[in-house]
Structure formats: structure tokens, C-alpha cells
Symmetry: C2
Subunit: 247 residues, 2 copies
DNA sequence: GTGTTCGATATGTCTATACATATAATCACG
DNA sequence: CGTGATTATATGTATAGACATATCGAACAC
């Protein structure tokens, strides 16, 4: 297979490390289509010979590729290229303040409503908690260069996030505050489209009935609900972008 | 730290392997909040002593956690718990036929238009190719239990995907055909909301002006554009779901 | 005080070896 | 002709030791 690489001065001429070279080599072959899904890649002992290195080194390269789901390793059978896992993409949603300032626009924030109460039935369903407890309900608006950017309707479980009781949500948007103060372990986003009702239309300064992009996000820590939020963006002016890069 | 584990009969009593135990142990501490973001986790030589194992074993556990972005390793300084990477989630978009049949509903498909042509200026911009070439333009509709589910407007670069010339898009939806025949390496999705224009409204059997969820997807192989597609879903009946599970 | 050098140290890579374990392939048997 | 036991083999885990490399801090020079 003539894979042998230049190692005339083992740790001096090589820029990337050996296992990384092997990993990138295999990755390139997979992504270029040279080794299509289902293809059996050379056995470890073959790669050992090709690259003149120990099995541990080959194994390290293959293990990383396996962890990244590019290949599948089966004992006795060998190592195979995985078929791409049906269109998936990583959606990155930064907090809104960061998103707006990253665009070089000035960030504005207005707290519309902030109340503390004992969770009612609606709150409990929305958060997904069984027994009643204290919650904070927040409505606020984010703007970019003084133009309404999104409105936010949030519920925080005060029993799960007691520190929220002392936060000043008039000064700092709850999304930013939570992101910086409360670690979370699981999150779920549901993305849909709605027509602006009169309230949303007024807050966003758009016509009633205009299309809006909606993100409903739930966040947990160790299975316990922390917060539920609905973000409404004017639909035609906002896009969510998700990317997938093989490897 | 009293982390020592039971290894009275090294490879017999242990269910999970040693490095996996170490990995899960550390993972648990991080996800439970016991070791918060920024916390320095014990040095490798400390973990070696705690778990009575070699450094390679500890290192393997830490390397996997680092690859999964839960920790950050810095030479000379030590290993630290990373702060969560600003709300990110994995969005999985399966092809529409699979999505509908997975819901136990019957899948229907109508090809509305399919034409082959030399790429005009609009096509070139949409695909992001410089010089002109042949393309296939397809319009079609997907339905679930005979109810319109989504409409699709797609452009395929015939020079990048010559096999598409022989595909029968009246029999098989282009999304499914591409997924099964054409490997890709990069994809980008932009998600937005629009009002249904009269054409979309008629195809989807919804009122003109109704909110719709739009996915614009571009797919490349090795940096070369393969296809550009716009999918329009009735907004209130469809949700995209994205999840993030720590670890 | 300020910048430089240098040593200590934690992680990063690699080797050679050993044994464990899952399983594909083969073979013996009813 | 299946079918169950056996074997061969590729990956999986683990060890001990070696050297590479980045970098924090302290000692040093200016």
C-alpha cells in the first residue's frame, strides 16, 4: 500500500505526531471517498508495518476515529468505515447578548416582567416537575441597535437553582446569568414557526400574523429540570445555522 | 482521596474495565457539580496512586474525556474541567421518508417538476459554484397519511454528481436517493421562518400567510458543492428537535 | 522594577510486551 | 445436513519505561 512515511529523524522532522499522521491519513481516505462506508480498513498489524510503528500507536489513532464515530471496530473481524449517521449537524446557540455583540451591534435589554410564585399546574407541566415549589417567571426583550431582536419567556425552578433568588434580572438577562452561574448537563431544543400574536407583534414591532421562529429550550442538571424558556425571533430576519464537518 | 477501587482479582471481578471506571468516576464528579468548571482535577501521578494503575491507563481515561471536551489538559499546569461550550446541541435531520415512516404513518411523494439545464446565474449563486455547468432542478412534495408534510425545492450539481442523471426522481425522492448514493463531507443548515406564499400555501394546503418552518441545506464533498435544497414545513405542525447530553 | 534564563514538572507520544476477550471460521459429530 | 464445540485471529486493556515538549516560577541579570 506504500503508506510508509518519512521518519528519517524520528522526532525532529515530523511536525504532527505519528499517531496524528495516521489518524489524518485514514480520515482523508474516508472523507475523500477512497474508502467508502463499509470498507474494511487495514488490520492494525498491517498499519503497523505500513507506518513502521508499534501497535499501540496505530491503536491510538483508530481509537480516536472510533470515538468520533468515523469507523467501527469489531473484534476478530477488523475495522470498518461507518456510514454517515443520517444528516446530523451541530447547532450552536450562544446566548443572545453574545450573539448580538459578536455581530458588532449594540445590545439592548428590557425586563418586562419578573415575578416569583409557587408553581401552578401550568408551570409544573412546563418545567416537567412533579411536586410544587417556588419558581421565577421572567419576560424580557433583547434588541440589537435598538431594534427588537427577540422576546424571551422563561421559567426558573427556584428549588433547583436557589441562587437565582438573589440575581438581578433587571441588570443582566437571565440567559446570560444562568449560563455563567449554573452548570447544566442536558438540554433539549424544539424549533418551530408560529404567527406573531398581538402581544408578540407589539413587543417585536412587527405586524400581527408575521412569521416567527420559536426556540423552546429545556435545561436539566442530572435529570432535574432547571429552566424552560421560549424565545421568539422575527422569522425572516433571523436564521439559525447548524454545521456538520466530517471529522 | 480514598479513590482506591476493588481489584482483588484484577481481570475477573471488574465488570467495566479499569480505564472506563476512571473515566466514569471523573465524569460523574464533573456532571454532579462536585468538580465545577475550572476545577483542577488530580494530576496523573495522583490518579495513578489512587487507582493503583499505570500512567498510560489514567492517560487513556483523561484523553477520552478531553476528546469529548469535558476537560482541558495543559502541560505543566494540569487538567481542568471545561466550562460547558455555550449551548450547543446535536440536530439530527433524517430524510423525510424515514422520518414519516418512523412515526408509523404512510409516506406519500409527488414529483412536481424535474428539469435539467445549464446553470444560470441564480443557480450558480444558490449552489455557490463559479463556472457554469449542468444542474438538475427538482420540485416535489412529501406527505404523511395523504396530508401534505413538506415541499422541497432542490438543485443538484450534475458535474459533481453525474450519477444523478440516471436516477428516477419520479420513483424515489431526491433526498433519499442522494443520502444512499452520494457520500458528503460537509453540510450546512439554515433554519428560518417565513409566511406561506400562494404557491407554498396551495402545495401544503394551508392558508396563504401561514407560518412555515424553512430549512435551507447545502451539502459539499471535499469543499465542492453537491446540492442545495429548501424544505418548507407547515410551521405549527412541525418541530425540529435538538438534544445535548453532557458526556 | 523589568526582562531573561533556566530548571522543575505535568502532560504528550511512543515502544515492546503480555494477556484478555469477542467472534468468524472451521471441524467433528450425531 | 445442520449443529455444537474448537481454534485462530483481531481488537481491547494494561504495564513499565523512555524521551519529548510546553510552560510556570523562581533565580538571575540589568
Amino acid at each position: 500500500m506504500s503508506l510508509a512515511i518519512d521518519r528519517s529523524k524520528p522526532q525532529l522532522t515530523d511536525k504532527p505526531t505519528l499517531y496524528k499522521q495516521i489518524r489524518l491519513d485514514i480520515e482523508r481516505r474516508i472523507l475523500s471517498g477512497e474508502w467508502p462506508p463499509g470498507h474494511r480498513i487495514p488490520f492494525e498489524h498491517e498499519l503497523m508495518a505500513d507506518y513502521r510503528c508499534s501497535r499501540m500507536t496505530v491503536s491510538k489513532a483508530l481509537s480516536e476515529l472510533a470515538q468520533a464515530d468515523l469507523i467501527e471496530r469489531r473484534r476478530r473481524a477488523g475495522t470498518f468505515v461507518r456510514r454517515p449517521k443520517f444528516l446530523s449537524a451541530v447547532l450552536t446557540i450562544s446566548d443572545i447578548r453574545a450573539e448580538i455583540t459578536a455581530l458588532g451591534r449594540s445590545y439592548g435589554y428590557q425586563l418586562i416582567k419578573c415575578s416569583r410564585r409557587i408553581a401552578n399546574a401550568t408551570d409544573r407541566i412546563r418545567l416537567g416537575v412533579g411536586k410544587t415549589g417556588k419558581v421565577i417567571a421572567i419576560a424580557c426583550r433583547h434588541s440589537a441597535d435598538a431594534v427588537p431582536f427577540a422576546i424571551e419567556d422563561r421559567l426558573i425552578d427556584l428549588d433547583a437553582v436557589p441562587e437565582a433568588a438573589t440575581a438581578d434580572f433587571a441588570a443582566e438577562p437571565p440567559g446570560s446569568w444562568l449560563l455563567h452561574h449554573v452548570p447544566w448537563t442536558e438540554a433539549e431544543h424544539a424549533i418551530s414557526a408560529i404567527s406573531a400574536d398581538d402581544e408578540a407583534a407589539a413587543s417585536l414591532d412587527i405586524p400581527i400574523g408575521a412569521p416567527c421562529l420559536v426556540i423552546d429550550r429545556h435545561t436539566w442538571r442530572g435529570g432535574r429540570p432547571l429552566t424552560a424558556v421560549r424565545l421568539i425571533y422575527p422569522g425572516e430576519s433571523h436564521k439559525l445555522v447548524a454545521r456538520f464537518k466530517g471529522g
